[in-house]
Each structure stands twice: as C-alpha cells, then as structure tokens.
Symmetry: C2
Subunit: 195 residues, 2 copies
C-alpha cells in the first residue's frame, strides 16, 4: 500500500473547527478529498492482496495486461485505445502507456523476464530498440488470474447500484478533468513562471 494515509479520517466537525483558523480550508472539499484518497487506497489494497497471492505486483500486472492486449485477437482485447492498434511492444511504448519512466520499465521487464512471463528480443530494424513479448507462461498466468481479479472488482463494487456507479464515474470524471488542468498548469508554471 503506497500512500501514507491516516487510518482514521478526521471527523467533519473537526474540519469545521480547523476552518476557523485556516480560511483556505474548505471542509466539504477536504472531506471529499480525504475520502477519495482513503477509498482508493483501500481498494488498491484489496487488489494488491489478490495479486500478492500470485506473487505478482501491480506494476508487473500492468505490463502483462499491456502486452496481452496485442497478443489477443481484436474482439477480445481489454485495452483498445484509439483504433485498437497492436499493443505497445518496446519498453519505451510500454512505459508511456503505463505512465512510468523508461528506467522503471527496464526494472519491471527485468523481473518479468527473470520469472519467465516475458521475453526480450532485439529489433532487427532498429538496433536501439527491443521487442518485448508475452511468453506462453505469461499468457497462461493471465488466463488463470483474471477471473479471480474480475470477481474481486465486482465484489468491491457490489454495494453500489448501476445508477450509483454511473453517478460515481460522473463525479470522479469531473475531478479528474480538474486535476489534469491543475497538473498541467503547475508544470507549465514551472517552466514559465511569469506567463
């Protein structure tokens, strides 16, 4: 579990009290913020436990899913961004798709290859590049693992009705959009603080 998060979230009344001293503190915003991080962490923890029982980490699972995408016939691909292009193949593409650095991807592919889930092959056309492919063992692992994973996700979301799930996704979407703007602006500001 990656975040350091408080086990007990502060009560709303405490936030109200604190807002008296800090006018910038918006109690309902802080409450939603803390619940969002906390719930994300809990949910993450449940799936992590699942993965851990199969001796695989979140990062490695992500890479396997990305590779699997291209290995499957078009109709059954889980991850089909854009026009269902063949999945990423090189470490750089995988890193971009997974949202980690190339250096991190090197480490992930290292351990996946060590465990036999994945194989590196030099690219004959561009000798800088490598081609990463799922092995039969890697594919077998996914076929065996995914049903349980999907069951766990379904169980996590079972307290929510279909309508509530749609609502949740809609509300989260608003925050996502806003977060992307803030993230982007902060980056831009770092490069051009006067603009």
């Amino acid at each position: 579990m990656p975040y350091l998060l408080l086990k007990d979230l502060p009560r709303y009344e405490c936030l109200l009290e604190a807002a008296k001293e800090f006018p910038d503190l918006d109690p309902s915003a802080a409450e939603a913020f803390l619940h969002l991080l906390h719930t994300g962490d809990e949910v993450f923890g449940v799936t992590d436990q699942n993965l851990g029982e199969h001796d695989i980490s979140q990062g490695r699972f992500g890479v396997l899913m990305l590779l699997w995408r291209g290995a499957q016939p078009r109709e059954t691909r889980l991850l089909c961004a854009e026009e269902c292009l063949p999945g990423p193949r090189t470490p750089a593409e995988l890193a971009e798709a997974a949202g980690v650095t190339r250096a991190t991807m090197t480490g992930l592919v290292d351990t996946l290859e060590r465990d036999g889930f994945v194989k590196r092959q030099p690219d004959p056309e561009d000798r800088r590049q490598m081609s990463v492919r799922l092995t039969a063992r890697g594919e077998k692992f996914l076929q065996a693992f995914l049903p349980g994973h999907f069951k766990a996700i379904a169980a996590l979301m079972s307290p929510l009705s279909e309508a509530e799930r749609k609502t949740l996704v809609r509300l989260l979407g608003k925050i996502q959009e806003r977060a992307a703007v803030l993230h982007h602006r902060a980056k831009g500001a770092a490069l051009a603080p006067t603009g």
Copy 2:
C-alpha cells in the same frame, strides 16, 4: 505517483466486449474501479506536486500533521480522533496512526530529524520508548505550507457542488466499508483457510 496505472482507461465498449469472454467481468464495476484508482492517482499527483515544491514527501507530511495535532490547542486541532487525545508521540503510535509499519516510521523520522523538522528524545519513564516532537522549524513549515495545500484541495473539488460532494462521500463510504470487509476476510482466510 505510486501506482502503475494506465494513462488511457479502456472504453466502456471494450469492457463490454471483454465481458463476453470473461463472464466474471462486470463492466460497470470495472469502469467504476478503474476511474476510482485513476482519479485517486491524479488527485494524489496534484498534492504531491505541491509537496514536492517544498521538498517534502507525502509520508513526511503525514507525520508532521500527526505531530502537529498534539502541539496545537484543542480547538484548532485538525486531527482529533476519539476525544481529542494528545496526538501520538512515540514512533509506534505514529506508525499505527499513519498506517505504516514501525520500521517505515523509523525511516521517516530519520529523514525528518535530519532535515530539522522533528526531534527525538528518550522517554525517561520507559527507556524502550522515544518521544518525537515537532521543532519550531517543523511548525513554521506547516503554518506556511497548509494554506496553499488547502487551496489546492479546494480547487480540486471546485467542480463539485456541495450536494455532489456529499453524494461522492456517501458512495465512497459504501466501497470503503466493503473493501474493509474483503481485506479482513482475506487476511483471516490466510490464517485459517478451512474455517
């Protein structure tokens, strides 16, 4: 940013397609699940950026907040679990409150002490224990940092109305509850698989 998460979430139609092959895959559950993790990560990233600009990590910030709690007069404490007891003082208490192991807390306090935000003192009454206290510098940092932090949180949640925030917290609460049960059950099952 701690999770390895896909930059582009799979589209809902793709989940529907995949559900044909995997009957355990509940498309709306998976959609909500992915959005939850993704949004949590984005939000985390924004605050992390904020913290990073002040050369402090999420983990260290959490420890400072826990220590600050006790250093403040009762009325203005942000984190007042139970009856607003004095905040945690020993590494073990801090670890418990933050949800990390004692070993991890040793490392966090190490770096915080190195940077002058915190001070370790031996407890004269129980020579096994240490007492961790915020220094003047640590307190000053929080006073300077918190307003911006609160502003960022308010900005993140600004697209949501008060009613939507309440709804979000309610829905997240349901998932949290469920996740806690699943987490607990999985742990118990590991200890007593037949019971």
